[in-house]
Symmetry: C2
Subunit: 260 residues, 2 copies
């Protein structure tokens, strides 16, 4: 909780369907933005297939390297949902049917009037020393083991789980951002921008080119922990843009996201 | 090119803006789907920050592990575009200003009547023994070193580069898919589905639950190299769904993508 401590996170995104292109991941952008609000910086994400050794290796690498790990996907009732078993193995813990999770699931199934099946009860399996994470949407809980949070892949459920667990997280410095846009193309401002980055090593200067309204331009995003420093840098950036014949726009230019 | 050879690929997605949630990656789903058409299976993706040692380590790990690596992002003119320099280091090659790339860029700048800047010429830098990849959209080429293709992050440009390079790729077996949907919930069909997966180890059975029109259901996707085997399995799946009181829908049920 110190003013300058950097707290980091990584996300294993688990599922063949993300790699095949069938499903577009929506969890990384959500978690990247939400974690930053809490003073936790997303540093890496890995999309891995439903293959045991890949999931175990990824979880073990990332939990050693970052303060927090948030897995998404692979905790449903079917044969290809192997995340819970893999996380148990990653920690060398037994996979158990968690009594509280089982109770929650049975209550939910009674409420929804659906049949209690072995497959549905599989969603109560967790590593032996896991702590449950509440799922206000569909019942079946996520869980935490040490610094690893295991969450659903369906965005609405993942977001509900994250809302329920986020008060447990200890953040460090929150990165603030200031955006300045203009129709000065990236290739025109790049050299000066590099010099500015050298002069402000305490912030990241990101450059996002666009082509809009028939003209190339750039949105420049300054990110750092200190609002006064960001404002100072943004002012200099405005001068720089004017010197290059442009008109700086605070907050950046609203342009359509480059898709297709 | 054998009938059964599995050819694999991985994608390092390079850029702080993907991790912060500012930009949504659109390249992984595109590449996952396009590569499969060529008989190349996407096996892993890593989203990494603009940090030299992370990019170098990721490229070296993935190029040893998979047949092909496709990087996206970080080849523009600004200080945070460090992919080319990192790939050169990953291969132990010098970073040079590639003469053909420089010629292409200078011609393009003359055509577009934009100023030749050092920053723009930075986009001509490649590892010493790189082979260029054509960019029909904005000129600045990508490149290949051994099994690593380095491409732009902007989807439209990346796609044009991929179109230009894909004839060079040697695929193996192409995975075909058959989808069967129904309003049988995942938790009802899961156990039988697991038994079916055991009976068909040559295919992957993926289960994608949805909630639509007030009812839960599941789309089941069978993926494998042999159409006759897929059709056989799909027929059995249809029987299974009927036995569980459902009505199988070939091609799956069209439901809105589960977004937040």
């Amino acid at each position: 909780m110190s003013d300058t401590k950097r707290v980091t996170a990584a996300v294993p995104i688990i599922g063949n369907e993300i790699l095949s292109g069938r499903t577009h991941d929506a969890n990384l952008p959500y978690l990247g933005a939400e974690l930053n609000k809490l003073g936790i910086q997303m540093r890496e994400a890995r999309v891995v297939a439903d293959i045991e050794e890949e999931i175990i290796g990824t979880v073990n690498t990332l939990r050693a390297k970052y303060d927090y790990v948030f897995t998404t996907g692979g905790i449903g009732p079917t044969h290809d949902d192997i995340t819970s078993a893999c996380v148990a193995k990653a920690f060398g813990q037994k996979l158990i049917r968690h009594p509280d999770a089982e109770r929650i699931l049975r209550e939910r199934m009674a409420q929804m009037d659906v049949e209690v099946t072995e497959a549905r009860l599989k969603m109560a399996e967790t590593p032996e020393f896991a702590e449950l994470v509440d799922n206000s949407i569909s019942g079946a809980p996520g869980f935490r083991v040490e610094n690893v949070y295991v969450m659903a892949g369906i965005p609405r459920v993942m977001q509900a789980m994250f809302e329920g667990l986020k008060d447990q997280l200890e953040g460090g410095v929150t990165l603030l951002s200031v955006t300045v846009g203009s129709y000065v193309p990236e290739g025109t401002i790049a050299t000066e921008l590099g010099l500015m980055q050298d002069a402000y090593p305490d912030m990241d200067i990101g450059s996002y080119p666009f082509f809009f309204d028939g003209k190339p331009g750039t949105n420049l995003v300054l990110r750092g922990p200190d609002q006064a420093r960001l404002d100072e840098a943004a002012t200099k950036l405005g001068e720089l843009i004017r010197n290059l014949g442009g008109q700086p726009v605070a907050g950046g230019l609203e342009v359509p996201k480059s898709k297709d």
